[in-house]
Amino acid sequence: MTHNRLPVRPGEVIDRETSLAFTWNGRPHTGLRGDTIASALAADGVEVFARSMKYKRRRGIMTADHWDPNLSVQVGDEPNVRAGSRRLVAGMEVSAQNVWPSLKFDIGAANQLVGRFLSPGFYYKTFMRPKWLWHHLYQTILRRFAPGGRIHWETSTHGAYDKRYAHPDVLVAGGGPAGMGAAIAAAEAGASVMLVEHEPELGGHLRWGDAEDLTALADLLAAVQSHPGIEVLVDSTVTGRYDHNWIAVMQRSHEVAPERLIKARAGSLVVAPGLIERPYVFAGNDTPGVMLSGAVRRLINLWAVKPGSRAVVLSANPEGDAAIADLEAAGVEIVAALDARVGEDIVEVEGRGRVRRAVLGDGRTVAADLVVLGTGWTAPTSLLNMAGDRPVYDPTAARYFPNQLPDNVLATGGITGNGSTVELVAHGSATGTLAANRALRNRHERRSSTARARSPEGPMPESLQDTRVPLARTPHPECYRSSSHGMVDFSEDVSSKDLFQASGEGFDSIELMKRYTTATMGPSQGKLETVNAAAVLAEARSMDMVDIGTTVWRPPFAPISLGALAGRIFEPIRRSALQDWHEAHGASPLLAGQWVRPDHYGDPVGEARNVRENVGIIDVTPLGKLDLRGPDVAKLLELVYVNRWQKLEIGRVRYGTMVAEDGVVSDDGVTGRLGEDHYLMTTTSSGAGAVWEMLEDYLQTYRPEWNVHVTAVTGGLTSINVAGPRCRDLLLRLVEDVDLSPEAFPYFHVRRGRVAGVSGCIIWRIGFTGELSYELHVPSGHALHVWESLIANGEDLGIRPFGVESQRILRLEKGHYIVGQDTDGLTKAPSAGLGGLVKLDKHDTLGLPELRASYARTDLPVLVAIQTDDPEIVPMEADQIVDGDSNRILGRITSSRMSPTLGRSVCLGQVDPSLAAAGSKVTILLVNGHRVSGTVQEHHAHVDPEGVRQNA
């Protein structure tokens, strides 16, 4: 079934020796290597490829390229594949999408009968009553008309994708004659060049041209391929130009990924996309068999497919004329050759699955199965828009032209004017030279201006004037609409009549019209329809095209798969040096910010109880650690903490809270003084990065005269907290050269020494659990050894590792608050229960005026310990504290757990100051709606408020 395949064509891209079997709607078909899906099906006689979105009209090939609005198909699990550009692969399962029950018979085609009632925006004007029907019925019906293919979201992986960075001096978007000329000249000028072509081969329109074109193409190809400075990317699209010439290139059919995103920082961008052929608006212009001149030329010359047998051709330009010659050569009978330049026209096409008749401008009706339109060109100014240009319409040439471009973006080729191949190449060449020169000058300047300048290569290139002779703007008739109404937007089923209606209703600017009718909003994103829509609006408002403007073309120039944009998903997780051990010993993972940590080892309550009774060890490496050195560290601490630091002695540790400049509690931790000019600061795990950057900020910009060096050592030191009444016994077995006796090494002191033979460890007597505890900071390379030594030496002492959950239980029993959990984004220092810690008489500390103001207030909430009166009830964290039986909120539970030590539930909460006094009764609203009473406690600590245990 290859009855439409022509004898060998000189420029054909098919390999007649290799046939490829595939299926279309379940039926077997055969194509040739080099075919697109569409060309293979067309060669096999397929005429209808799709149904339109709204009226389910039959649709066939119109442009035979990537932008063809009628050629979106499903290929296996991939929806919305462009059959006009996707190369055929053996075994493809291709099917029409958006049809029900089938392409041949679609129930939705009934919409054609009622089309007159479905005018633009009809859904805004109905389905309003009864109200419930909208939610239950109308919306469901509308959804059924959602176009597009089916995504197989059940798949559980996102597939293999990759990305690449590139830094070409010159990036040329478009590999036609002008683009190739630009690439060659830029490379000659010494620039590194990336030449990107959307189609699978370089050449642009020369590829489907005549013998002369093919010869010119061969010469250009040879020059490009022989130049080592040019990297050619075909089947690739420049999809976006972003600020500072950050260019997105989508490379398809790369060997490692179906689509690869290349991010290029280009010195200069040369925009040479050529022109996109524009449809013509008349009744029946979407009937299968109505094709643009480029489509028939491509079908005939690239794939040797005969597009029809009896053709009517309407031509307004040399390319349309060339189509006539190609059709004749392909054995297609030309039943009418109409010249739009002398006012000849086509008014209507009849036929459902295929063109049958055409009504011409002179009233004649002719039988034909093919109508070919060479009626004009659209400049794809997308990349220019993205570079800030607002192209201007030129009525003489009937298209838009670039207006003002930044220095690093240059346009060439058809987008700037018309010319012979020689003229196009010459303009491209001049543009390439200029682009290269500007890029090389910038590179030279940059290299010589940076502080650590590399020696610029060679002398600075001479500044070049833009002396390019512009390409001519050949006059072209303004062919937009015939005397009848037809489709303007083929993807969205929007006709010129619809646009007239919209304009009449007040949607009379191009943007409003677009939004109301959805014209240009579909998958082709305006490439075929924007200019026609503007022309129809101009007609409706009796305005000039120049005054209408166009909608802004937004990126991407061609759609990009989410997989390609994502690339390899790289979401690193931080693991302490002990994480492998934890996992090998049954730790349940907890993702906390960037870190994964042991939540528990199977028995959080038992682990917590063991800390109170024997000894436990926990990996607290994520704790932020900053090494501070220099003579002015104390001044820095005084600035960033709310309390005093000037008199901290060597070997002493102090707790501090930080507030931001607005007085809100931002972080907390302990800082110890290790030497005369040496401190170690700890921060919350999540705040480690922010605190570091904040310290640097104040040191560099506010007090540059202070001599302080900050080094982040969070990952370099593995932190192990050893806690429990028997922890000293354990450490006595492992710690050398530090006197661990309570007299020599009391609570809130710090020492340096050897642990399990590892020197340089830092040992703190601090802890979050309220037990006697030591925190060891061990060089991470030796951490596993120290950890395992602790486990081995603590066996007879009942040692068990414990995780984050046990620590949360223990710290809550002890009443230690957590910044960000027991405080929130508005919590000021008085609300955190900091009491006398805050020193308001300092000269300078972060947020000082706000601190003072906050301590003058009596209406701020207060952090208190709460116990439910029924000890069995554990409120959920975030349960609200309410005013009796009313719904007035007076606070909330911020932390809650069942305390294994007390055998009752314990909480922390933020409450209204009226409830802050010890003994106050609070009403807690549980998630199940029950209200239970609780009592505010005297101390934050539910267990050991006197601190006997930690001071032991």
Partner: protein, 82 residues
């Protein structure tokens, strides 16, 4: 992705750095009135045009510096170490 010229490291993708917003001047907290302090905290020029702003070279030299950037065009000029 704009390019920001770090005075120490040279031109870098902005994702290598952290934008810190308009440069503000911190009043003396010991003497500032609450109203002056809150103007420093909250009020911003937010011009459409050239603005002097701070950046932090977080993946490079870890220095704060200032540049001038045109918020209408994203052009940058004059980068200075703090």
């Amino acid at each position: 992705m704009i390019v920001v010229n770090c005075p120490h490291c040279g031109p870098r993708n902005s994702s290598d750095l952290r934008p810190c917003g308009e440069v503000t001047s911190r009043p003396d907290p010991a003497t500032a009135s609450l109203s002056e302090w809150r103007t420093y905290l909250y009020m911003r020029e937010n011009p459409s045009g050239w603005v002097t702003e701070a950046w932090y070279c977080r993946s490079g030299c870890r220095r704060y510096f200032t540049i001038e950037r045109n918020t209408a065009t994203n052009e940058t000029r004059r980068s200075e170490a703090s």
